[in-house]
Amino acid sequence: MRERVQLFGKPSSLVGVISEPSQVDARERPAVILLNAGVIHRVGPNRLYVQIARAVAEAGFLALRLDGSGRGDSDVRPSTASFAEGDVKEIQDVMTYLAASRGVGTFVLMGICSGAALAFSIACADRRVAGIVGIEPYIYPTLGFHMRYYARRIFRAASWWNTLTGRNALGRRLLGGWRSAGGPLVDAEMAGATVGPQTVPRETVVQALRDLIARNLRLCMLFSGGGAGGVGVCNYRGQFVAAFPGVDFKDCLRVELIRDADHTFTLLSNQRRLLKTIREWMTATFPVETRETPRT
């Protein structure tokens, strides 16, 4: 495995590092692109993207970790496009470059949190995306999520105290009357865990997923046990499918919930589990025939 710096964009203002497999013709398999997690630069939280890139490269996939505009070492984008549009277009241009320079035809996009969301947006816009590994992607709460969320708190004295004193959403409704606290029954803790997809109508996402599955795009969705207080966006493994009723995922979806991990997989034991899961999914989903290939 060998790593090289690669600049992208006009001017060459986007900085990336390519991890090249040593024994496989990378043109035969999708290339992996790792998308920034928030504002963290291309090495990823806890250097996770470096570890993932090297792990998949060892498994025979070309991998690129890249700083999008305004992140890490990359300049701010001189464009009037919105952030969302600009981010999608940027990665599409990167894919075009890799296709032309490396002969890569398809791509697997990977990202944590906002990186996962961007991967989804790009996949919807570009048929060259053959797979998505979403780590802590956005997800809608379901009835099962709410039941498990509140069930955990029924046996906590602090939760009863907060309810009786109006310190949580339920308490404010009970004390203030149902009409005085409008909107969904979501307290700050839960709201922080489920931010994101509520701005996009669920029906839009459902249709997008149907389109992606129809073209056989493969999804690997990985969730943790959550952030502060152990509150996560997903608290049971079936939530992802339940969140999108009417979508037949066929055999295109793998979901894992690593309950004893946090949002950025801080503990080394959880990093190892995450890497193992990703590597296994990549090799099983896009099997590689290893053979000696002369380096060009």
Partner: protein, 266 residues
């Protein structure tokens, strides 16, 4: 103009970013930036990139880089050591000198990077200025405080389980091997002879009486030393609530570091 690159040996390539001095303001100056370790490295990456951009605009060449086993450089975190990192700084110094033709360069270090910059300067005659930004004085203290922050942070994530034994071998997402731990524990700037540099600047965003006391001792042995205390409301060091938060230094703090790098250069 920035140039990301891999340099050093084929066995242990180091990732770096070279910022060429702006031709309109170019001075015969160059600086190697020695970054922090672990989550502090992640927190401060963009800030150090912005620092280098400003320094280059002001006329100084700059080389930022990642130590072996960190960032984009080769190696696993488990293979990192203080001894290797000191060698990496030496390699970075030579790389900048080769690239620019300069005979002397400055070292800028942040947190653990400041301690390493200080140690790497020892015995050298080609270091012009040392700028130590919120330096870690003792590696043992750094590990202990980091461990306390980790323990407090873990309490906010009740689903996480870390045994006491495992807790000694990782620090907020990054491995700390037995060798790295030993290396950190041997770092004690208060017991290290002052390097022979033209000037040393301390820039402090937090009040640290031990560092102030150490600075006074350096002055007493004749080191040309400048101290700047610029309290920062956006500090992230050793704060549980700031784990995984970005370090966004206020303009005054940022400017203090820049002005210390340029010092009295005309």
């Amino acid at each position: 103009m920035i140039q990301p690159l891999y340099f050093g040996t084929a066995e242990k390539p180091l990732f770096g970013v070279y910022h060429a001095a702006d031709v309109r303001t170019a001075k015969p100056m160059g600086a190697v930036v020695c970054p922090p370790f672990g989550h502090e490295y992640i927190q401060s990456y963009r800030a150090l990139r912005n620092l280098a951009v400003q320094l280059a605009r002001g006329g100084s060449h700059v080389l930022r880089f990642d130590y072996f086993g960190t960032g984009d450089s080769a190696g696993d975190g488990a293979d990192a050591s203080v001894e290797q990192w000191l060698e990496d700084i030496r390699v970075a110094i030579e790389e900048l000198k080769d690239t620019t033709g300069l005979g002397r360069v400055s070292l800028i270090g942040l947190r653990v990077g400041a301690a390493l910059a200080y140690l790497a300067s020892g015995g050298r005659t080609d270091i012009d200025t040392l700028v130590l930004w919120d330096p870690v004085l003792r590696g043992k203290d750094f590990l202990e405080r980091g461990s306390m922050v980790q323990s407090a942070w873990l309490k906010t994530r009740p689903q996480l389980r870390l045994s006491a034994a495992d807790g000694a071998s990782e620090l907020i997402g990054f491995p700390v091997s037995a060798g790295l731990r030993r290396g950190f524990e041997e770092v004690d700037l208060s017991r290290t002879a002052a390097p022979s540099v033209r000037c040393c600047s301390l820039v402090m965003s937090e009040d640290d009486p031990e560092v102030s006391h150490w600075a006074a001792r350096l002055e007493s042995v004749g080191m040309a030393l400048r101290c700047r205390h610029v309290p920062s409301a956006n500090g992230v060091w050793n704060r549980v609530e700031a784990v995984h938060a970005a370090f966004l230094p206020e303009p005054e703090l940022f400017q203090a570091v820049i002005s210390e790098v340029f010092g009295d250069v005309p």
